[in-house]
Structure formats: structure tokens, C-alpha cells
């Protein structure tokens, strides 16, 4: 079985702040891979690196066998037609209706007649349960609906790889359940490869084939969900069971608390 995405020893820094130091992970074709980690460790950055929007300082990023950072504009854009990304905010185009949003990639990249585009859009919207909402504008949608509409747009071109950026954040339990099922069924029925970046442990572990935990600028644990849940390493336990004390600092580091308080008295 081949790997669709391969990251090898990736280093990346945002200005002076180092984000990754030696990150390696692989995503096998046709599988759902979860990438988990505390907030603020650059999980979205990871997806942007894979999508070629950011270039690593060193290391190799391969998607479908192609070295992404080395690609020039044209092959990069060709490669991007095969992947799609679901943004945390949905990132729907606010000046277009839901229908036109989903039709957008089809109109941009294919020469299909409008009647065929209509059928495809309706099928995609049916898959996410928004066929009746096609005439609404993005501003009229709830957060959950917006994300589902964005998902319909993301699968419009039948990509090989789909990257989900925090798909569960801020969802009510019902739409959370719907999205979990959608990711699973898209993966099973369309045979696409998924990367789910999240910190919602229970949801993602219920659908992932394999999971990575990122902390301290690299992968600190990996394995199949069951194995990870029974892992007894301190950092894995802390993250999967949500404990404030452990190797990952909950407090943004600063002076000692007592010293800081006393500073005011001086």
C-alpha cells in the first residue's frame, strides 16, 4: 500500500518562532489519519505545508509522489486540483449563494455544461443534507451548515485527498455527529484519503484508521486509536484524558507566579 502524503524530518519556522523541528508522518492512500495536539502548535500550519501554501525551512513533503516545496506554480496548481481543504471557518465566498459556492470549482476547472454542473452540485449538496438550502447566502447559514456547505464544495471535484481543519470545533452535538458520519462515509464510499486535524479526541478516534499526536514541535506518539488509548506514556495520557498537569504545560510560560504577584508591591 502506498503513502499518499509523506512528511520527512520537516523543519518550519514562522519568523523567529520555530513551529516544527523534525516532523515526520505518513498518510496511506485511502485511509483516515488523525493529527491531534494541543491548540497553538501549528496544526493548521501542517495542512498549509502539505497544500504548498507555506514552504518548510528544510525537510521533504511529498504528496502523490511529488515533492511539494519544489514544485513551480503550474504543477503545484495541478496537484492542488487533486486535494481540497475544509477550512475551520468554512471560508465560503460570501458574495455567492450556496449553490454557486459548490459550483465554483466545477466552473473554474471544467468545461461541463451548466445542466451537468447543476446535477453534480445537487448531488453534493444532498450528500451533506443541504439540498434545500442551495439558494441561501453564506451569511444566512448557521456555523454547522456553513461547514457542511464548505464540505460539499470541497468534494465537488472528487479530490483524492481532503484535509479537515478542526472540523468539529464549535459544533453542537448533532452537527458534530453528522460531520463525523460524513467524513467516515465519504472516505468509505469515495475511497479518498483524509487528514483530520483536531483536538476533539473522542470524535476523531472513532473514525480514524491511524493517529498522530503532535507536541513539542514533533510527533510524540502515533498508532492505531485503540493502541493510543491504552498507551501509558505521560504525554499521551495527559492529552487523551485532558489533564492540566503533565509534560505539556497548560500555563503560557512566564516568571514564577509568586514573583509576578509581588512585583506590583515593589
Amino acid at each position: 500500500m502506498s503513502n499518499f502524503v509523506e512528511l520527512n524530518n520537516v523543519h518550519f519556522a514562522h519568523g523567529e518562532r520555530s513551529i516544527y523541528e523534525g516532523l515526520s508522518l505518513t498518510v496511506p492512500k485511502g485511509k483516515t489519519v488523525a493529527v491531534m495536539g494541543p491548540s497553538g502548535i501549528g496544526k493548521t500550519t501542517l495542512l498549509r505545508l502539505i497544500g504548498g501554501q507555506l514552504k518548510p525551512t528544510s525537510g521533504s513533503i511529498k504528496v502523490a509522489g511529488e515533492e511539494v516545496p519544489a514544485l513551480s506554480r503550474k504543477p503545484l496548481y495541478e496537484l492542488r486540483k487533486r486535494m481540497s481543504m475544509l477550512f475551520q471557518s468554512g471560508a465560503l465566498f460570501t458574495d455567492m449563494s450556496v449553490f454557486d459556492n459548490v459550483a465554483f470549482p466545477l466552473r473554474e476547472h471544467t468545461n461541463l455544461p451548466e445542466t451537468l454542473i447543476r446535477s453534480i452540485v445537487i448531488m453534493k449538496l444532498e450528500a451533506v443534507g443541504l439540498r434545500g438550502a442551495r439558494h441561501l447566502m453564506p451569511a444566512e447559514l448557521s456555523g454547522g451548515m456553513a461547514r457542511r456547505a464548505a464540505l460539499a464544495r470541497a468534494i465537488a471535484l472528487d479530490p483524492d485527498l481532503i484535509m479537515y481543519d478542526e472540523p468539529f470545533a464549535g459544533q453542537d452535538p448533532i452537527s458534530m455527529g453528522v460531520i463525523v458520519k460524513l467524513i467516515k462515509s465519504l472516505n468509505d464510499s469515495l475511497g479518498l484519503t483524509s487528514i483530520v486535524v483536531t483536538h476533539d479526541v473522542d470524535e476523531v478516534l472513532s473514525i480514524a484508521d491511524y493517529a498522530y499526536i503532535i507536541a513539542d514541535k514533533r510527533v510524540v506518539a502515533e498508532g492505531e486509536p485503540k493502541a493510543l488509548l491504552s498507551d501509558s506514556t505521560a504525554i499521551v495520557k495527559q492529552f487523551l484524558h485532558g489533564e492540566a498537569d503533565g509534560p505539556v504545560a497548560f500555563h503560557y510560560s512566564d516568571d514564577d507566579f509568586a514573583t509576578d504577584l509581588l512585583k506590583g508591591a515593589q
Binding site: Y77, F87, S89, A91, F93, T94, P105, E108
Partner: protein
């Protein structure tokens, strides 16, 4: 020493900014055109940027022309030269006020809107998602807006001047009693097609290029937060206005100075 360091950093940032702006424009405009896709986008932007600016341009032009007629008359009548009111109004508008005031109004009306729109598209990740959909936001979003601004502003400046001249005529002839025949015929004989009209149009083409470019660049490089977008919008209006006035001096010196 610290001040020197800061000055150095600031100038480096400025130069880098100009570089980014140039790169943005090059990437947006150079490439194989695809009229089937870009023409509808361009026409839509012409409507948003040009047609919707018409009202403010026409109203301002009319009032500025009327004020010119009034002020010009009170000065000229002392010398018995009120016959020259026509050329005075026409020359002021065609050479200076038409291009400059239109550019200033355009920066405030359309430029700020362009910056805010693109900044907000950036903040809501719409530009990023375009990129991930293999659609270049520079060509899809920036290019049609640039062309629309570049084409529409000189046209707006001409409309401004025409309406302004009519305003001057209304006040001068209609109200203050300058002879109608003299107003138009003296204007016709003293306004030169090349020296006055064409130079004015060249000015507004330069302004159109610069104002639209500044507005798009400020939006594209905006810090994607609410404070960042408001700062970018302000910066568009301030930078564009100062650039217009500075360039106007240089252009006037080149065109009419020698």
C-alpha cells in the same frame, strides 16, 4: 543609535513593501488571459467600482464647477475680463481639478472599499481557500479589480470635468449674466486638444494606476484582524491621497512647467 536602527528598519520595510506590491501586480496581470472567465468578472467590477462612483463624481463635479464660476466671475469682473470665465473654468477642470479631485474621491469611495473587501476576504480565509482550490486569487480577485479601477477612473475624471464645465456655465451665464456665446467660443478657442485635454487624461490614467494599485495592495497585505483591516483602509486613503498630490505636482511641472 536606537533611532538610527529604527529608521533603517523602517526604510527597509518600505522598500520591501514596494517590492511586494510590484510582485503582486506582476503576478496578477501577467499571464494568459482567458476572456470567457475574466470578462464577466471585469464587467461586474466596472459596475461596482465605476458605475457606483458616478453619483458622487457628478454631484461633486457640478458643485466644484459652480463654485469655480462664482469665484472666477468675482475676480475677472474687476478687470472687465468676465468673457474669460469659460476658459478659466474649463482649464482649471481639465488640467487640475478633474483628474485630482476625481482621484481623491475615487480613493475615498472605491479605493477604501477595495481594500476593505480584499482584507476581509483574507481574514475569512477566502483567499486561502481559492488558492487551495487551485485558483490564483491574484488573477481571480485582484486582476479584475485592478483593470476596472484603471479603466473607470479616467472616464470618471472626464465626466467630472464635463459636468463641472456645465456647472460653471450655469452659474456664469445663467445667473451672473456672462454672455453665453462668449463663454463657449472663448473657451473653444483657448482650450487646446493636446496640451489641456490629453495632458489631463494622462494625469488621470497615472492616478488611476497608482490609486487602484495602492488600494489592492493594502488589502492584500492587510493584517487579517478587524484592527488590521481598519488600519489598512485608512492607510489606503492617506497613502493614495498623498501620492496623488505629490504626483500631480511632478506631472504638472513636466507638462506645463517648461
Amino acid at each position: 543609535m536606537e533611532m538610527l536602527r529604527r529608521l533603517g528598519k523602517k526604510s527597509l520595510d518600505q522598500v520591501a513593501g514596494i517590492g511586494y506590491a510590484l510582485a503582486m501586480l506582476m503576478n496578477a496581470l501577467i499571464g494568459k488571459p482567458n476572456p470567457r472567465k475574466s470578462l464577466p468578472l471585469f464587467i461586474h467590477q466596472m459596475y461596482v467600482v465605476g458605475v457606483l462612483s458616478l453619483l458622487i463624481i457628478i454631484v461633486s463635479g457640478l458643485f466644484i464647477g459652480m463654485v469655480l464660476g462664482l469665484q472666477g466671475y468675482t475676480i475677472l469682473v474687476d478687470y472687465g475680463a468676465e468673457q474669460s470665465l469659460g476658459p478659466m473654468v474649463a482649464l482649471s477642470l481639465l488640467r487640475e481639478l478633474g483628474p485630482v479631485v476625481t482621484a481623491l474621491l475615487f480613493a475615498g469611495r472605491a479605493g477604501s472599499a477595495l481594500t476593505a473587501e480584499i482584507g476581509l476576504m483574507k481574514a475569512t480565509e477566502q483567499l486561502s481557500s481559492l488558492e487551495m482550490m487551485a485558483v490564483d486569487p491574484l488573477r481571480r480577485v485582484v486582476a479584475p479589480r485592478f483593470w476596472a479601477g484603471f479603466v473607470s477612473m479616467p472616464l470618471l475624471a472626464l465626466i467630472f470635468s464635463a459636468v463641472g464645465i456645465y456647472g460653471g456655465y450655469l452659474v456664469g451665464s445663467g445667473w451672473l449674466g456672462v454672455d453665453e456665446g462668449a463663454f463657449w467660443s472663448v473657451m473653444q478657442s483657448s482650450v487646446d486638444w493636446y496640451d489641456d485635454l490629453l495632458n489631463g487624461v494622462i494625469k488621470s490614467i497615472v492616478f488611476a494606476f497608482v490609486v487602484t494599485w495602492i488600494a489592492l495592495y493594502k488589502g492584500y497585505r492587510a493584517v487579517p484582524t478587524s484592527a488590521g483591516i481598519s488600519a489598512a483602509t485608512t492607510s489606503t486613503v492617506v497613502t493614495a491621497s498623498l501620492t496623488i498630490l505629490g504626483l500631480d505636482f511632478i506631472l504638472t511641472a513636466l507638462m506645463f512647467g517648461g
